[in-house]
Subunit: 334 residues, 2 copies
Amino acid sequence: MEPRGRVTITDVARAAGVSVATVSKVINDRYGVAASTAEHVRSVIADMSYESSLVARSLRSQRTGVIGILLAEFEPFSTELLKGLAAATAGSGYELLAWSGGGGPDGHVGWERRSLAQLSGTLIDGAVLITPTLVVPDAGIPVVAIDPHAGSESNPSVDSDNLAGAASAVEHLIALGHRRIGFLGGRPDLESARLREEGYRRTLAAAGIALDPDLVRVGGYRPETADAPAHELLTLPDPPTAIFATNDLSAIRTMQVAQSLGLRVPEDLSVVGFDNVPESALCTPQLTTVSQPLHRIGREAMEMLLTLLRGEAPAETHRRLPTELVVRASTRAL
Amino acid sequence: MEPRGRVTITDVARAAGVSVATVSKVINDRYGVAASTAEHVRSVIADMSYESSLVARSLRSQRTGVIGILLAEFEPFSTELLKGLAAATAGSGYELLAWSGGGGPDGHVGWERRSLAQLSGTLIDGAVLITPTLVVPDAGIPVVAIDPHAGSESNPSVDSDNLAGAASAVEHLIALGHRRIGFLGGRPDLESARLREEGYRRTLAAAGIALDPDLVRVGGYRPETADAPAHELLTLPDPPTAIFATNDLSAIRTMQVAQSLGLRVPEDLSVVGFDNVPESALCTPQLTTVSQPLHRIGREAMEMLLTLLRGEAPAETHRRLPTELVVRASTRAL
DNA sequence: CTGTTAGCGCCTTCAG
DNA sequence: CTGAAGGCGCTAACAG
């Protein structure tokens, strides 16, 4: 009906011949409106296909009925989590809003604090932070972190058993006869990266293998940042026969770098990843990796947040879920 | 510094001993503030780690610098597109916001109109709609649709060659010797579903195979809605030897239903899907499917939207990208 | 039962 | 160069 731009509550009020307040009452089913008036207003609303502005409503009211998923970028790890998070939201009455903090590629530390400040108190009632770079201070709304920056002293969180997961990856390589095992680490700001390195070190030590510092590099969890260190590892005078890359994206990139150097995987180089994102099964050769239960992590994080939003105390504020080694085609006995 | 809840511009102004207006000017780099004052205000802002509320800012200003991706739910198809959309946004100066319209599971027709009305004009400067259920009227902001409801008369859009894609799937099955080929259709409100059915019908006709109406069912593109029709097809007195399910999720579910009925895939039943989402390579057996270039679709849709946002006219308002048959392990010669 | 009055947090004239 | 006033669209008191 109404052509130009947005239809506002004022337009509706004028068209219906009532005040703005009355329209608002009708929309929100508040008492004190004659049935006939309400009826009439409703029909005008339908006619004009009016929908109240989320922004204006949020600004005024406390509750918005929206949960924010704050992530650095839309990459496979985050989008897998999204599926689990979304599944757990169904039927809760909350809408889901995924917000890419812009910090993105540069990995600007603090993106989650900025994003949270921009959205909390106004647009969202609660938030799930995916791989935050720091412990966020009280944001005034319930917050749950997935794969967080720090340990158990901080915000409620869900992660998987990174230590045991890394150990299983390295044990697998050792069992295949590998002794020179390269390590491509993750984002130093994340606890997961620290624990995966710790798992690597301990497992080598337990097997009586001396750690060669030359074989330990920082990959940053992203293809672009993993490229150079992977290349360095593979062009060492005495290169590793296997590499444990601590997430799938960097593992896949490592395989590509190896192939570009004329190395065959797994004949000349074994590679193990971490995460088990769908992409790990789509590359050639298919990647051996440590599986994290990503959907379940998302689901449990959302359940924790919903509990918090209900004003209840969650059974546990830190959930740690098990990992599992998935052996595919990128590893092979020496 | 400031403990309780959000820090507002008023808090900053008070702490800095200036007016709200001055703080606003500093934030937005507007003329008319003494260098020393600006400096001071900036330091207070940093101290209090103040961040202006997206909501309040949006309400007041025209431009928000945010692009909305509106989707019915976070399932594999949408999240794959998200990766491409996000990649194309990098460096554009826009932030990305993915909004799940709530209509979700029930597939409530019109979710995108509602979502758009709620967000446009206030929160987002432009939008990409994923599988909208109808042609959206002028929303006052640029809108691009992916896999749209209707044909070329409507909004700018990007999709893939559904007709040719469906044909390639059915031709593949015919080449394998199949004659009784079941069809599990998609969402009737989408053009893609119509075109895929058309491709199925034409290809059968071209091969001189009479169409058995009993073999044509509506699967709705979702696992839950595909379950029953798949079951019906497989328990027919004269069941099909192959099924073309028009998206991967329903194809995967079809394989599960078959297995639950004691049928082996591909020995007893061949199955072809559509989309080539990552999940299609993760199931057992791996799914033969028609690949859509999902990342590229997302990228091109975003580029089109960015062009529109710049106020320019896009080279073409309807992009149709090629599909490709990916033969894996779920199909076999009769 | 209805309309008027105040803001939510912010930005933008427009006086001082 | 700075602050006071008005209003974005909406909801929540309070009067009438």
